[in-house]
Structures are given as structure tokens and as C-alpha cells.
């Protein structure tokens, strides 16, 4: 039987099969950030061990660094400075390159890695961060681990992994106006559940996926983890090859032809089989938004909150009731028209230049509604600079958005900046958990265009209803 794309990358990196049925997988690249990476390196060095291949690792400062202009390592988050300084000293001791706060390449790790050409077809990449799956958009096998597993990889350049099963999600047809990759993944999670991908490496495929830009595929793969998938990936194609041309860590001119020839082999064999398949009709996907405290609590923008009484069992009823209560909503309530207090455009899900363009297209010539706090955090310093070169920052500012330096920012609350307690936020991030963006903060996940449209309207809005 033929191999899937996933099989091929897996098999190419299998050092040995272990007695218990797991595989020792070679890790090409280890990415680190200050929040979970410093402890991994520190723990390794304290055990008297060494990093096996410092040149195959890269660290960035992204998670708890502030994003206001002029930021330094003296963070608003109490204790944040320690994380940054320990990362500096640990990476220096270990000989690992660090993209520090003022480095021109600094940014959110899963924005920076593709941007630098580190995420490549056929590469195995790990990071102590759950959204590492983002990089599967480049045809890499990229997955998140904890700090201890990261430490193991730093010491041995391998991880022992029990091979996940293979799931293919086929999206067919054309996306409607105002419908994006963010809506695709929210639609998948809401229809198949936050556990739908558990135990699987998920390949996203089909004509709809092929039609997506590489950056949009990153949005899709980013939230594979919210589907409980081990990872997400897309087969590399000409768009991916074009994306990688000239990037600093991508193949250089002398290697290019050989690399592309190799990359072209990274596709499912005609007789490859998947353990499971899901088919989704793109026409069935509308602009989507979450209403509750799990990414699976999502609905089309025209939808309503569910009624807990209709839930199958008492625990499910209680969970839905709790989510509605936390979000300050009632059963059967419409999402469209819900007043918002804030709008956030940023995060490893949606902060790349194409995301900012999509939001800017909605914001151009319009103003954020009175009383709505609006913040935009570009995904990396290069993204910020490219956006400024296109004049996007001027569009955001003129509309009333704060324009920030790059970082993970208010995707989550670590004791630094956060949205006001109990505020309702339309956000392009990936998690709407209780208290994720601040104490009592009510997060509604959506695409950049939907968030921009909602910011202008001062309420959750359907971007398709705005004049184009």
C-alpha cells in the first residue's frame, strides 16, 4: 500500500522502532520561546548534559514581552523580566541563537519560523508550544511538546513518539465572499468537536485548501490542536515553493533544484489510505464566530447560542449552562448584534500580512465604534515593517486601532496587559477559554475581517453586509 504525505515524512525521520511500539523520530529543528523554553534548556544544563546540535535550535522572545512602542525587557507582567533574562543566559550558555526583543527578525515563533524559511516541506520541527502545528502549512511535520520532551530533544535530537493515525479533511468547492481559513477551521471544530482529531495527524486537503494562500493554510493548521489533533499539515505545492524562495534558512541557490525535486515527492501516493476521512463542502461554511468557552462552541455569524436543555446528558447540560453564564449570554441568543467592548487582531493564528490586509480592507475609510478598544499586534517585526511599507498601519490608526510591536500579546493574560474584566472581545486568536484574555474576559473567536467589521459596528457583525 502506498504512503501518505505524513508516512513519508515520518519514515524519513525514523531512527529506529522501539521495543514498546513507539518510534524514535529525528527532530530537524527545535524552536524555543521564553515562556517554556528557558526551563527546558536550564533543566538540561543543570543535569550536566549538553545540547546535541545548538545550530539546529532557535529561540525567540514572544510570549510575555510587551507590545507597546519602546518596550524593553522590564515587562508589565511581574516576573516577566526573569523569563527573558533566563532565556538569554540559557541560550548563550548552550550556544543557541536567540532572536531577542530588538532583533529585526523578532516575532511570534510560528510566524517567524515560516518567515525565515525554517519551516520547510519534509522537515520535523518541535517547540514547547501547542500551536507548533501551524508550520505544517509548509508541508513540515511540526508538533507541540512539553518542556521535558523539549529537553529530551535538545539532548538527543530525537523524540520517542507513538505514531498517530492519519485523518484527511477534504474541503471541496469555493469559499464564499467573506469566508476565510479561520472560518474553515472553526467550522470543522464546531461540527466535529474539540476532540474530533484526537489521536490523528490531520492532513488538510482538497481544492479549497489548494486555493488558499500559504499564510491562510497556516491559520488552518494553527488550530489543528484545538481539534485535539497531534498535528495538522498540507501537502506542499508551487505556492509553498514560491513562498520559500530567497528566505534566509530556505535552500540556497545551489541547493534549490535538488530541494524542490525532493519536495515534489511529498504528496500522498495514489494508493495511500487514511484511517479516517472527513468531507466538507466549502459552500456550507459561513463567516463563523464562537459564542462560548471552547473553540467547538462556534456558529455561523447568523446563528444563535444553543439551549442547554437540549443537551444529551447532565454534565453536558451543566457545561453549556456554565459557558453561557460565563459569557453573559442566554440560550437562543443571536450572535450578530451583540455589543462588544474590544477588538483584537493578532496571534499566531491571524497576524500575518495577508491577515492585516484583509482587516485593512474592511477598516479603510471607516472608524472603530465609540467605546470600543481596538488593538492590532503584527505577528513579527518583519510583518510590521512590511505592513507599514504598504500603508496598512495608517489605515489601522486612522480607523482608531492601536498599532503595536510584535508578540503574542493579549492572546493570553500572564499578568501584564489584558482587556477589562468581563469585557466582550472580538478576537482573531485561537482560544476562548474562561479567563484566557483576562479575568472574566469574554472572547469571541473570528477571522480578521469579521473582527474588523465588528469593531466598526461596535457589535458582532457579518462582514458580508458591509458595502464592499
Amino acid at each position: 500500500m502506498g504512503e501518505t504525505l505524513f508516512d513519508k515524512i515520518w519514515n524519513r525521520h525514523a531512527v529506529t522502532e522501539l521495543a514498546d511500539g513507539s518510534t524514535l523520530i529525528y527532530v530537524d529543528r527545535i524552536l524555543l520561546h521564553e515562556r517554556t523554553g528557558a526551563i527546558a534548556v536550564k533543566s538540561l544544563l543543570e543535569a550536566g548534559r549538553q545540547v546535541h546540535a545548538p545550530d539546529q535550535a532557535l529561540a525567540v522572545i514572544d510570549h510575555i514581552v510587551d507590545t507597546f512602542p519602546g518596550r524593553t525587557d522590564k515587562t508589565l507582567m511581574p516576573g516577566g523580566t526573569e523569563f527573558i533574562r533566563e532565556t538569554r543566559s540559557a541560550t548563550r550558555l548552550a550556544g543557541i541563537e536567540l532572536l531577542d526583543i530588538d532583533d529585526a527578525r523578532q516575532g511570534i515563533v510560528h510566524v517567524v519560523s515560516p518567515e525565515l524559511g525554517i519551516a520547510q516541506p519534509g522537515a520535523t520541527i518541535i517547540c514547547p508550544d501547542s500551536h507548533t502545528c501551524t508550520q505544517g502549512a509548509l508541508g513540515a511535520l511540526a508538533w507541540g511538546v512539553g518542556s521535558s520532551e523539549c529537553e529530551h530533544a535538545l539532548a538527543t535530537q530525537t523524540l520517542a513518539v507513538r505514531k498517530p493515525r492519519a485523518l484527511r479533511v477534504l474541503f471541496e468547492g469555493e469559499l464564499g465572499y467573506g469566508v476565510t481559513a479561520k472560518d474553515m477551521i472553526l467550522h470543522l471544530i464546531s461540527t466535529h468537536g474539540a476532540s474530533g482529531g484526537a489521536g490523528f495527524a490531520v492532513e488538510f486537503a482538497g481544492e479549497t485548501v489548494s486555493a488558499l494562500s500559504v499564510e491562510a493554510r497556516m491559520t488552518l493548521c494553527n488550530m489543528a490542536v484545538e481539534f485535539a489533533a497531534w498535528t495538522g499539515l498540507c501537502a506542499p505545492d508551487e505556492k509553498v515553493f514560491d513562498y520559500l524562495v530567497g528566505r534566509p534558512y530556505a535552500p540556497d541557490a545551489s541547493q534549490w533544484e535538488a530541494a524542490v525535486a525532493d519536495w515534489r515527492s511529498l504528496r500522498n501516493d495514489d494508493d495511500a489510505a487514511f484511517d479516517h476521512e472527513i468531507h466538507i463542502d466549502a459552500a456550507a461554511i459561513a463567516p463563523t464566530i464562537t459564542w462560548g468557552t471552547s473553540p467547538q462552541h462556534a456558529t455561523a455569524i447568523s446563528g444563535r447560542t444553543p439551549d442547554p436543555a437540549a443537551a444529551a446528558d447532565p454534565v453536558a447540560r451543566q457545561t453549556l449552562a456554565r459557558a453561557l453564564d460565563y459569557m453573559g449570554l442566554v440560550p437562543g441568543q443571536a450572535l450578530e448584534g451583540l455589543p462588544i467592548d474590544a477588538a483584537f487582531i493578532g496571534s499566531c493564528t491571524n497576524s500575518r500580512v495577508s491577515d492585516l490586509r484583509a482587516a485593512a480592507d474592511v477598516l479603510r475609510g471607516r472608524r472603530v465604534a465609540e467605546g470600543v478598544r481596538a488593538v492590532c499586534v503584527p505577528g513579527s517585526t518583519p510583518v510590521k515593517i512590511a505592513a507599514e511599507a504598504e500603508g496598512l498601519d495608517a489605515v489601522f490608526r486612522a480607523a482608531g486601532f492601536e498599532w503595536r510591536e510584535s508578540g503574542c500579546s493579549m492572546c493570553f493574560f500572564a499578568g501584564g496587559e489584558h482587556f477589562a474584566a468581563q469585557s466582550r472581545v472580538a478576537t482573531t486568536t485561537n482560544r476562548n477559554f474562561e479567563n484566557r484574555q483576562g479575568p472574566g474576559v469574554r472572547s469571541h473567536l473570528a477571522s480578521p475581517a469579521t473582527v474588523a467589521a465588528s469593531a466598526i459596528a461596535g457589535q458582532i457583525a457579518d462582514v458580508r453586509k458591509l458595502a464592499r
Binding site: Y26, R49, E97, G122, H152, T158, V315
Partner: protein, 211 residues
């Protein structure tokens, strides 16, 4: 790492599904570059009515006298989903938990448990519901967990099998230092590298300066 062979203790129920690691250890509670000092932050947003002043919420299960000193957690499906933060396991361990019984776990969280001597025992949904009901009805919410036979024993004579991959069971039973074990294979790993890296050298460019 401390090994896990068997354990008996009070089991506290947190039955809702999809409890994420932000709930287990809010980002704000990850205050230093350390694996310790996290117990006070465990479930902070649910456990306290005033998080800053650490005023207990009497309604939260871990604050109820019946479940004080709990060392086993009975949790809903997909426990530990979300962020990869290993701090979630470090906090649970430091608080005193040795075992979590659930229908399913977030994958990264599950792996983190194994590496910290915490047993993630996966049980089937129906068995889980029966166990939860028995714990609720019982005057003493005690459970016994046996990793050799992979059984959970509870009130009213309930005995439930649980599963986990063989390699994880071995790691827990033996208290393995996983890195030490793999380091013994470095010759084999380096032999792989010697073939892999020249074959696909473009994967290994390094030290490219900022432009």
C-alpha cells in the same frame, strides 16, 4: 523520577469535559522559570473567590472538606487540552495529585504527566460514569489505582480497567530517566544523522545573520 506502581487516596471529581491547561494553571500563575512554586496557582480562577488575596471559594471541589487531601482527580473527557504548558502537571503534582482518571486527555498534557510521575489513566466513558456516580454516593471517596494490573478500584466493589501505552507504563513503573535511556543510543542516532543531513542539507542551514 519517582516511580508509580500503585496508589490509594481520596478522589476528587471535576467532571466537565474539555478542562484546559489555562484553567489548570492560569498563565498569570506561571511566575518564575521553575518547576516548583505552582501549587498555590492550581485551578486558581476556580479555587479562589479572590485570586490575588487567595481567598478560597468554598464551592470548589478541592476546597470541600470531603475532598481535602485528594491525590486522585476524576476528570471529564479531553482533560488538559489547550496550551502545552507542563506547568499544569507540575502544579497538579506539587498540590499532591498522583493520578488522573478520565475518558481522554489532551495529548501533550498526557505526555507531560508521564514525564513527571503522574499517571493518566484512560477509562471508557460508561465505566467512568459509573465510577463517578459511585464516588458521589460513597461516604468516603476513596480509590485505589494499580499500574501493574491497570485497574482502578472504587466504592461498592467497582473495578475498572484503564489503558495507557506500554512505553508510558514502563516509564512510570520504573521511574525512568528517559533522556538517560535515549543517550545510550547516541551512536545509533549519530549514524542516522550522518546519512540524513548530507542527503537533505537544505534543512540544516544555520547562523544566518539579520539583514
Amino acid at each position: 523520577m519517582e516511580s508509580f506502581v500503585s496508589h490509594s487516596g481520596i478522589a476528587a471529581p471535576l467532571l466537565q469535559a474539555n478542562i484546559d491547561t489555562d484553567a489548570i494553571i492560569p498563565s498569570r500563575e506561571m511566575k518564575s522559570v521553575s518547576k516548583t512554586g505552582l501549587a498555590a496557582g492550581l485551578f486558581a480562577n476556580w479555587r479562589y473567590t479572590d485570586v490575588d488575596r487567595r481567598i478560597d471559594n468554598p464551592d470548589f471541589v478541592l476546597n470541600q472538606p470531603r475532598y481535602r487531601g485528594a491525590t486522585i482527580l476524576l476528570a471529564g473527557a479531553n482533560f488538559g487540552c489547550g496550551s502545552s504548558r507542563e506547568h499544569a502537571v507540575w502544579a497538579l503534582r506539587e498540590f499532591g495529585f498522583r493520578c488522573i482518571v478520565a475518558p481522554s486527555f489532551g495529548a501533550i498534557f498526557r505526555g507531560n504527566c508521564i514525564r513527571n510521575g503522574v499517571l493518566p489513566a484512560t477509562v471508557d466513558e460508561a465505566g467512568f460514569d459509573t465510577l463517578a456516580a459511585a464516588i458521589d454516593r460513597s461516604p468516603k471517596p476513596d480509590l485505589a489505582v494499580d499500574l501493574v494490573r491497570c485497574l482502578v478500584s472504587g466504592p461498592q466493589g467497582i473495578v475498572l480497567p484503564f489503558t495507557l501505552p506500554a512505553e508510558d507504563r514502563d516509564m512510570l513503573l520504573e521511574g525512568l530517566d528517559e533522556i538517560g535511556v535515549t543517550l545510550k543510543r547516541m551512536t545509533q542516532i549519530e549514524a542516522f544523522e550522518a546519512l540524513h543531513k548530507p542527503r537533505r542539507p537544505w534543512l540544516f542551514r544555520s547562523r544566518v545573520a539579520a539583514s
